[in-house]
């Protein structure tokens, strides 16, 4: 089976979507043909369109931007829709959406948009996973799945992979971070202050209203 792993982050390197796809790859048996695609800009080349169309399964990984799909990826989904509907394709689509907030459920509308795209492109919808505070998982790159920040990801990923390998559909799954929300907010807010400091800014500078 040919599985297309599509990184839909606007960041070409070091994105959370990339880490989430890398994590998924470790769970996929080696006898499948895995092909990685990076969609970081608003235009797909002819070769990319053809390669994506030749897959049996597509897994999109993307960040939630303002409650939806990042704009560059929308451009590419329009291109893909046009190309995929020109001839019938037997492709099942799965989606992993992460956001910077705590609740994985905040990705619900973005997953719904991807599902709506799947129908417009005449493809089969598989399943979506919405992951809250995805960056916590990205920062724990060397931690094994099922441990530390990745504790809550293990079971949903296992279900997701089983469905993907059988090309079955399933209910969307939502993952919250392992840590309590108040602790995460406290830590993340401290992190912003620290990052501002690295640029010579004080905490109150980060809150100015130009």
């Amino acid at each position: 089976m040919k599985i297309g792993l599509i990184n839909g982050s606007p960041k070409a390197m070091g994105s959370t979507s990339e880490v989430l796809l890398d994590e998924l790859k470790t769970l996929l048996p080696p006898d499948h043909d895995l092909v990685s695609f990076g969609i970081h800009h608003a235009m797909l080349g002819v070769n990319q369109l053809e390669d994506i169309a030749s897959c049996d399964v597509l897994v999109f990984a993307l960040p939630m931007y303002m409650g939806g799909i990042p704009s560059h990826l929308l451009h590419c989904l329009i291109q893909l829709e046009k190309s995929l509907t020109e001839s019938p394709h037997d492709i099942t689509v799965y989606t992993i959406v992460n956001n910077g907030h705590y609740e994985g459920s905040q990705n619900e509308t973005t997953i719904a948009m991807m599902k709506n795209w799947t129908h417009r492109a005449h493809l089969k919808w598989g399943q979506g996973i919405g992951i809250g505070s995805g960056v916590m998982i990205a920062m724990a790159k060397d931690v094994a799945l099922g441990h530390g920040s990745k504790k809550n990801l293990a079971h949903p990923y296992s279900t997701f992979v089983n469905n993907l390998l059988d090309r079955e559909s399933g209910d969307n799954l939502y993952v919250n971070p392992t840590y309590p929300r108040f602790a995460l907010i406290q830590g993340a807010n401290h992190g912003w202050t620290k990052q501002g400091k690295a640029h010579g800014l004080r905490k109150k500078d980060l809150t100015i209203a130009p």
Binding site: S15, Y65, T109, M113, R181, A188, G196, T207, A209, P210
Partner: protein
């Protein structure tokens, strides 16, 4: 002031906004825009201003000067068209980096004191029921995320229908 963000071509915009009030600012596809790359420069390097040098580096400030934001967009998969979504993606500097809880969920703190009234008008001949449901939830999410005073969403088959209702 009213901010109108739309994805219409020039003749459609002229028809719809021909007599727009003087205090309305139009944002359309004639303006140069680049995609948000999630660098967070607008939070930790140049707070409140996007580092990308185009017509949208001060979009957060422009939002803050508005009491009403009207969005007119083709309904695409239950969300905005690429241009309108690009504008929304670039409003990150409207928020602070710091987190808070709003409506029981984690969101960003307000950078500005204003709370806009958000009205969204989607158009499209063949918007499906799932797309409508998604669009309603999406606008509701935007309302909470932007800490809007109110939000409304409406659907039109075409611009003629919108024109008649918008008068």
């Amino acid at each position: 002031m009213k901010l109108i963000i739309h994805d219409l071509n020039q003749s459609e915009a002229d028809r719809l906004f021909g007599q727009h009030p003087d205090d309305a600012i139009l944002i359309g596809k004639d303006q140069e825009i680049h995609q948000c790359v999630g660098c967070f420069g607008c939070w930790i390097e140049t707070p409140g201003l996007c580092k990308i040098k185009d017509d949208f580096s001060d979009i957060g400030k422009r939002m803050a000067q508005s009491d009403e934001v009207e969005i007119i967009s083709h309904c695409l998969y239950g969300g905005f068209s690429p241009f309108v979504k690009n504008v929304l993606d670039r409003t990150l500097p409207y928020h602070q980096p710091y987190f808070t809880i709003r409506d029981g969920e984690m969101h960003q703190k307000d950078r500005y004191k204003n709370h806009v009234n958000l009205s969204v008008r989607f158009y499209g001949e063949d918007i499906t029921l799932p797309e409508k449901t998604t669009a309603e939830r999406f606008v509701e999410y935007n309302g909470v995320d932007l800490h809007a005073q109110s939000h409304t969403v409406s659907f039109y088959k075409n611009l003629e229908e919108m024109e008649a209702q918008r008068r």
